[in-house]
């Protein structure tokens, strides 16, 4: 039932570490947090999925929603994920083509030309 959401700053990125299960019940909390971050002016967001035990299609919808919102602010939402069970869901649905997925937070927060 628990969803952990911990945000930290790194190289101008905000890294949101998600822990627990992202499903129909908890995904709205993730959505709210992403909306909040955008409205606070954080436009380079890394969602770290390494602590996620379960992710369903509602969770995918929320992540794509966050990506869309950030892109409309010239920002981006990238993912950190190496867990096979979670990557598989992105692969099956074709979302690996939509998200940039990194192996770790270091790789995801390398400063590049972001504007």
């Amino acid at each position: 039932m628990d969803l952990g959401l911990d945000a930290t700053e790194r190289n101008g990125f905000v890294v949101l570490a998600v822990r627990g299960e992202v499903d129909v019940y908890t995904a709205p909390r993730l959505r709210e947090r992403l909306v909040e971050m955008v409205s606070q002016g954080h436009h380079q967001v890394v969602v770290d999925l390494e602590g996620v035990d379960f992710l369903d299609s509602t969770g995918l919808g929320v992540l794509v929603g966050g990506l869309k919102r950030l892109r409309s602010h010239e920002g981006d939402l990238t993912l950190v994920c190496t867990q096979r069970r979670i990557l598989k869901v992105f692969e099956i649905t074709g979302l690996t083509k939509v998200f940039q997925i990194f192996e770790d937070v270091d790789a995801a927060t390398v400063v590049a030309s972001s504007e």
Partner: protein, 163 residues
Amino acid sequence: MVGSPTAVEHVERTGGIQIDVPAQPGYLALVRMLVHTLAQRRDLDDERIEDLVLAVSEACGWVVGSRLTTDSPRPVQVRWSESEDGCVIEVTDTTSHDGDAPSVPAPDEVELPPDPGRAALEGELSLPLVLALVDEVTSSAGPNGSSVHITVNCGPWDGQPST
């Protein structure tokens, strides 16, 4: 409701398990835990167990999603049955009426959405996901409600839980 298969009849017929939970998002985790535990007792590796759990959770989500506008107190019914060569999980929306089978296309008729991003936003990834995760998905309608049947092929018990 004459002829409606009750929980008792289901267990008698199949030796299986039935759980009825409120059609609310907070109960999906409970169903997942139950399916996970039951699946672990079959000859399924961790990945296939997680695939099955996700598929059942998605199917329960369809019922929960269809309720968000109606506020009906009728539960989601999840039935687990098994045989030597597989398990069938039946997810039933007990508000649906006779003849109201949810339409589940055959897996080869379901194409991956050309724009998965848009599909994700519109909640259209659930069905292709489920079809990719398990061996068979069918639907039926009965006096009890409309059901989605999820089948996973797997070997027999690793250790029989009966006496």
